[in-house]
């Protein structure tokens, strides 16, 4: 990988800082390090005019107010940060998400098992035995792209996407896993259901996962799923309960 990122226009009110074009752990680490550094600087008031920064797999979008700072001045301000390296990023938290991998919650589990040449139980065990990293959140509120799907479970997206994937669906596609926060169209393979909401507009913060966090799944049966759903609906569920022991 080249050392310096490329700076590209995303209109006159945003700048895309690119570390390559492909999904690459080293590129993503640079993005996350820069994101952490720039957000810290922004919150300290050191980047006047910068509205927000948005990390993706291999690029950081810097949204700013061109009435407050022009492109040339912005680039000058950002330049000292562009060498920010991985390792300077703040370590993420680790979350354990309950998932029920049974029955109607897992409409694609049998097919995934067949195509992977394993039993359904083995697919579940493998999916749940893995630590995933929140690469980015996006497309809809709270959808986390979780990288790290084991090689044996990597399948291309469904050839025919579903028009409506239920909220809470635990899905895999390629090297990514994810939990659908809202009912949305989707082409990933649905292998389970998570009872806790990935996005709650009434909660503070509305999305508990953050870029850089680690996620692992903990299989629960239908009764445990129902009990958790009841807590969510009663308003007595706290996402902090999902933090891994070592992270509390």
């Amino acid at each position: 990988m080249h050392d310096g990122p490329k700076l590209k226009s995303l209109g006159e009110a945003a700048l895309s800082i690119e570390y390559g074009e492909a999904i690459d752990p080293a590129a993503n680490a640079r993005v996350m390090a820069l994101y952490a550094a720039l957000e810290a600087a922004r919150k300290e008031g050191a980047l006047p005019g910068v509205v927000e920064t948005v990390p993706t797999f291999r690029a950081l979008a810097v949204h700013y107010d061109p009435l407050r700072i022009g492109r040339a001045d912005l680039v000058e301000r950002l330049t000292p940060w562009l060498d920010t390296r991985a390792g300077e990023a703040v370590a993420g938290r680790t979350w354990v998400l309950p998932a029920c991998y049974a029955g109607d919650f897992a409409p694609d589990l049998a097919e995934v098992a067949e195509r992977s040449g394993m039993s359904a139980d083995a697919v579940v065990a493998l999916h749940a035995a893995t630590d995933y990293r929140v690469c980015i959140l996006g497309f809809v509120p709270g959808f986390a792209y979780l990288s790290g799907v084991p090689q044996a479970l990597r399948l291309p997206r469904r050839t025919s996407p579903r028009t409506a994937v239920p909220a809470g669906s635990v899905a895999i596609a390629g090297e990514m896993s994810g939990v659908y926060p809202l009912e949305s169209p989707g082409g990933w393979h649905l292998i389970g259901r998570c009872p806790v909401p990935m996005f709650d507009p009434a909660a503070e913060p509305p999305v508990f996962l953050a870029p850089g966090d680690v996620v692992r799944f903990s299989p629960v049966d239908a009764d445990a799923y129902a009990a958790l759903r009841a807590r969510v609906e009663a308003g007595t569920f706290d996402p902090a309960d999902l933090l891994a022991e070592e992270a509390r």
Binding site: S9, F57, A59, A61
Partner: protein, 319 residues
């Protein structure tokens, strides 16, 4: 004094919007916000509101509203309508002219004029509770605005009423420019072949009926990709006005309810000074584009702000 407005009739796409929700795109939360910031901000300025006071945004058909509890001062930005006074008398209310509704009186907007979008602004702003720093509605996630959804008959919304002083009006229908929509190239202009880019700027496109607050699809000559390149990219950040080109080669210009990231190549971005009048375009409207530099886009934005300020300053006080 607090007042309310009651919705009696509404088009299907009337929502509460302000300038948008910023700072949360890293969590996948779109900005939303007024699609036609020019009309929205000018309407607010006529009322003496801050630019970001929440208003009702509507598409084609405006909502009929009744003032409750206290006088409510209103202005229609983007098309006139009529008032139904307490005695049942009806009087026209042109766009860009404030009027005050006494409790029980109604405002009936007509169709939007000069574009597909209009704003019903109220003095003091629509006072629904902000969610994550904004009153904008993002319907897909049932977020913000009034219960996260489009307005319907019977809804009652609080208004921070400040109906004081004389009515005001613009002397003429305001314009925020004309001609081709200016575009800054990037970030993936290198995914397209040079001839295709030239054609994009030479040809005329049309707004597709398949357009909404997420984006406007355009029909016209398909863009072509550079050798070895295609429409798919590793998803990256999005901006208002971004011109995404899926495999069909027909561009989609992104609007406030766009997803926070996207996986199609972006040829360029419609500049901030032109995105309001772009958002206003009706289905079928012809569209041409012109390429500009970042510096030209910055200058255009400063000129846009000056025009907005001059138009607001030129408003006349009515007897």
């Amino acid at each position: 004094m607090m007042a309310r407005i009651r919705i009696h009739r509404s088009g299907p796409l009337t929502t509460v919007q302000d300038r948008g929700r910023f700072g949360l795109q890293a969590f996948g939360i779109p900005t939303a916000g007024a699609a036609d910031a020019f009309s929205f901000r000018l309407g607010n300025r006529l009322l003496g509101n801050p630019d970001g006071a929440a208003a009702l945004e509507y598409w084609i058909m405006g909502p009929e509203v009744e003032a409750l509890d206290a006088p409510v001062r209103v202005v229609l930005a983007g098309g006139g309508g009529s008032l139904v006074r307490a005695d049942g008398g009806r009087e026209p209310l042109p766009a860009w002219r404030t009027a005050t509704l006494s409790p029980g009186e109604r405002l009936i907007p007509g169709f939007t004029e000069g574009g597909a979008v209009g704003y019903l602004c109220v003095a003091g702003g629509v006072d629904v509770a902000p969610v994550m720093g904004s009153r904008s509605t993002y319907v897909r996630a049932a977020l913000g605005g009034f219960r996260g959804r489009a307005l319907a008959s019977g809804d009652e919304l609080p208004v921070a009423a400040t109906a004081e002083g004389p009515e005001r009006a613009l002397a003429e229908v305001p314009s925020d420019g004309e001609g081709p929509f200016r575009v800054v190239l990037g970030p993936q202009d290198d995914y397209f072949d040079a001839a295709g880019i030239d054609r994009f700027f030479a040809e005329t496109y049309a707004v597709s009926p398949q357009s909404d607050r997420m984006g406007k699809r355009l029909t016209g000559p398909a863009l072509t990709f550079a050798p070895g390149r295609g429409a798919d990219i590793t998803s990256d950040g999005m901006a208002a006005g971004a011109i995404q080109v899926p495999g069909s080669g027909e561009p989609i210009v992104m609007l406030p309810d766009r997803a926070t990231v996207g996986g199609y190549a972006k040829l360029g971005v419609v500049v901030g000074a032109d995105i309001s009048r772009f958002a206003r375009l009706k289905p079928g409207a012809p569209v041409r584009f012109a390429r500009v530099t970042v510096e030209e886009a910055e200058a255009a934005l400063h000129a846009f702000e000056e025009r907005l300020a001059a138009l607001a300053a030129a408003a006349v006080t009515l007897e």
